[in-house]
């Protein structure tokens, strides 16, 4: 049996045993519709509201400011389409997740829908947005700034608190996609100064198909789903109770993690990431994408000159190591990374980049497994590469 090691936790994380245990009852004995007035409904209503408090505690907000969604994409869509109206101007960055980028593209492309203008602020070579660029992009009709907290590919943490100040001074809404930051670094919506913040369950060892959007009190959002008055009329539809309970438990565990001491799993994960990164950068003609910028502690994105990342991902998967590169399109093929390209990486270098992302379940042995495989695999790929030659190094 092939040993399999999973270092692609920015794609999704395994559900922690405690989370699964918390969810289990809500598939069976506690099955009620949380809107029902009877005992069964009251049971699940209580569970949903407890979960809301856990999520609020993770984000430093009030429970009433948490809207449960189907995940990160819905949260991003609800924030953007819930606010932007015809004639508005929106500011986003070039490295946003597709859930934000394609929503913004839709805003500007379909005049009948919204006819909004969107400005995309660039990033520097480390993958950082310059708050001054955001400020310069402001217009009288700017309604919303949407800039992510941590990037999914590089793990680079954006200066959101500064952007929050700019938004507050200009009195416009600020949304941040915190899907890749939640559970990895402490989040406080008031320190960030955002009005909306998206998280997703399955990126923090909760289940897939559930997420939450923080909506600051007093922010009125046009719903995307109409129906009952669920989620304070901001998101109709019977609550996904097991999912919400799982998200609540995952949020609780993540928060507990930040409050514990040095021997805690997060520190171990960070140490394992640093070890992996250090060793991989020992391989010749490699480099770190996002070097010099603050990053979440689980992610490292490295280029291996002279290889195709796609071939490396496949070769490693065949040997039991799961890592990733770029974003997958609908067929499953890998597309060139818009994030690395926006950072100014040469196209061949963007294609030669691999993302390693750790989770709480990873052990130092997992990293050793990866480190035993990668150098020899990179070497073989380079030997067979039509463009790679040792001579290329000296140029």
């Amino acid at each position: 049996m092939l040993r399999r090691v999973y270092l692609d936790n920015n794609a999704t994380t395994p559900v922690l045993p405690e989370v699964l245990e918390a969810m289990r009852r809500y598939f069976g004995e506690h099955f009620g519709n949380a809107s029902s007035i009877h005992h069964h409904g009251q049971e699940t209503r209580a569970a949903v509201e407890r979960a809301r408090e856990s999520v609020a505690a993770l984000l430093g907000c009030r429970a009433s400011e948490v809207v449960f969604t189907s995940g990160g994409t819905e949260g991003d869509n609800l924030a953007i389409f819930g606010l932007a109206r015809k004639g508005d101007h929106v500011i986003a960055s070039t490295i946003e997740h597709h859930a934000v980028l394609n929503s913004c593209k839709y805003l500007s492309k379909y005049p009948g829908m919204a006819a909004c203008e969107v400005t995309y602020v660039p990033v520097d070579g480390c993958g950082l947005v310059d708050p001054a660029d955001v400020k310069r992009a402001l217009r009288p009709n700017t309604k919303l700034i949407t800039i992510m907290l941590a990037n999914n590919e590089t793990g680079v943490v954006q200066p959101v608190a500064e952007i929050g100040k700019i938004a507050a001074e200009a009195d416009i809404y600020f949304h941040t996609d915190a899907v890749q930051a939640a559970g990895k670094i402490p989040i406080d919506v008031n320190e960030i100064g955002c009005d909306l913040l998206t998280i997703s369950g399955h990126k923090i060892h909760g289940p897939q198909g559930v997420g939450a959007l923080y909506v600051r009190k007093g922010t009125w959002l046009e719903p995307m789903l109409y129906g009952g008055s669920h989620e304070r009329s901001r998101r109709a539809g019977t609550e996904n109770v097991p999912g919400i309970v799982g998200l609540g438990k995952a949020a609780e565990l993540a928060r507990a993690g930040f409050e514990r001491g040095d021997d805690h799993a997060d520190q171990k994960m960070a140490a394992a990431r640093d070890h992996l990164e250090r060793e991989l950068l020992e391989i010749e003609a490699t480099g770190l994408n996002g070097e010099g910028a603050p990053r979440v502690p689980n992610t490292t994105n490295i280029y291996f000159d002279g290889i195709e990342g796609e071939a490396l991902v496949i070769a490693l998967d065949l040997k039991g190591l799961a890592v990733s590169t770029g974003a997958a399109c609908s067929s499953g093929a890998i597309e060139p990374s818009h994030v690395l390209t926006a950072m100014g990486l040469r196209p061949d270098r963007a294609r030669a980049s691999i993302r390693f992302s750790l989770g709480k379940q990873n052990t130092p042995e997992d990293v050793d497994f990866a480190l035993a495989l990668i150098p020899e695999t990179v070497e073989r790929l380079r030997e067979l590469s039509p463009v790679w030659s040792k001579n290329a190094l000296s140029i």
């Binding site: 195709e308 796609e310 496949i314 070769a315 998967d317 065949l318 499953g332 073989r380 790929l381 067979l384």
Partner: protein, 378 residues
């Protein structure tokens, strides 16, 4: 079991390549399924007469889904690899440019030469596969005496695809398997059924994979519009073989040698495109009998069964996919020509020698080599 190899199978989601994966798996090999993502059908949606919803076959999600299902049924690893950039550079652009130059291209051969047996072969080697296998109907054998790899016609002559494979080098052939070479299509379908593959009854594909509905003119216009590259001044005269101007045309890309329909001129007797002169933008039309000629010049020739052509050789030459190979003599085109140019002289005149198509040379079932048909000397 003689020996177990790691083999990458180029899977399209169709019956043939699925059957290949099933056969090799049943033989005990380590099989890895690969599908090339070559073209995004949605790219040209809405351009120049292309509908918003494009129903093309190439790299459709349905085909990838089918291939993935087959891989799952067989229990083999499966991956989609993105070669869109190379496909556009090495296949789509030349396809468009050839038409604009008044020739009639064969994108499938370019795809075989530059993608399937080049890029995909490299990926296969990089991920640890010794060989690549495809669902082409052809055979590859090693000849000890010649010390060369030979490409041969398959058992099922009606499915013969060697015409599209003439560009394969010795190195490529040495790493290639065509497991269907000894089988007939009904046998292949039966094999797919036996392995309970969901695609066993899937119809065969015929058209050029990236051209929706086979409408190449609409594709050209949509692509050029997307590139902001609509050629100007491409209209020209329609002239008869004796030099009489009888009309005008909107661009040489609308014509192919031998074409009868859609010439836009009405005369008493049927007219055919005899020649397309790209320099003068003239389309020369004439009678059917004027379409016949005995000689052609093939360029960028790849020889397979022999390293070089020292003396004239008697072969049969196929000048388009659906053409009965015709007896001919091939010989080096001489000092003045390039080293990879070959002169073909047919025993009998052949109809519609079409620049841009391939001339493939056969010695019985063995592919001697082939090249691209050049424009006739002025």
């Amino acid at each position: 079991m003689l020996n177990t190899e790691t083999i990458a199978v180029a899977m399209s989601g169709g019956v043939d390549s699925s059957a290949v994966a099933a056969m090799l798996r049943a033989e005990g090999h380590n099989v890895i399924g690969l599908t090339m993502q070559l073209w995004n059908q949605r790219r040209l949606a809405g351009h120049e007469g292309m509908p918003e919803s494009v129903q093309g076959r190439c790299c459709s999600i349905d085909d990838v889904y089918d291939a993935r299902r087959v891989a799952e049924t067989l229990g083999i690893p499966y991956y989609v690899v993105n070669h869109e950039e190379r496909f556009e550079r090495d296949v789509v652009r030349p396809f468009v440019e050839e038409y604009l130059a008044g020739r009639t291209p064969i994108p499938c051969s370019l795809c075989n030469n530059h993608l399937k047996f080049d890029q995909l072969l490299i990926v296969a080697q990089q991920i640890g596969a010794d060989k690549i296998a495809t669902g082409h109907y052809a055979q590859v054998v090693f000849d000890e005496q010649l010390n060369r790899w030979l490409l041969k016609r398959p058992a099922d002559k009606s499915k013969d695809q060697t015409y599209f494979l003439f560009g394969l080098t010795q190195e490529q052939l040495s790493r290639t398997l065509f497991p269907l070479g000894g089988m007939t299509k009904p046998e292949v379908r039966e094999l797919a059924r036996k392995h309970r593959l969901a695609i066993a009854e899937k119809p065969d594909s015929q058209e050029i994979c990236f051209v929706p509905g086979g409408d190449y003119k609409r594709f050209l216009e949509a692509y050029l519009s997307e590139q902001g590259d609509m050629p100007t001044g491409i209209a020209g005269e329609m002239v008869t073989t004796d030099g009489k101007v009888i009309g005008e045309h909107a661009g040489v890309h609308n014509f192919t040698v031998g074409q009868r329909k859609g010439l836009g001129v009405a005369t008493g007797s049927p007219l055919y495109v005899i020649q397309i002169n790209n320099d003068t933008r003239q389309v020369v039309v004439g009678k059917d009998e004027e379409l016949y000629s005995r000689t052609l010049r093939a360029r960028r020739v790849n020889l397979i069964s022999t390293a070089e052509l020292r003396e004239p050789m008697r072969v049969a030459v196929k000048i388009r996919h659906r053409h009965q190979p015709a007896p001919a003599i091939i010989e080096s085109a001489g000092e003045s020509a390039g080293p990879d140019e070959i002169q073909v002289t047919f025993d009998e005149p052949q109809r519609a020698l079409t620049p841009g198509q391939a001339a493939v040379f056969y010695d019985g079932d063995i592919v001697v080599g082939g090249g691209w048909i050049e424009n006739p000397a002025p």
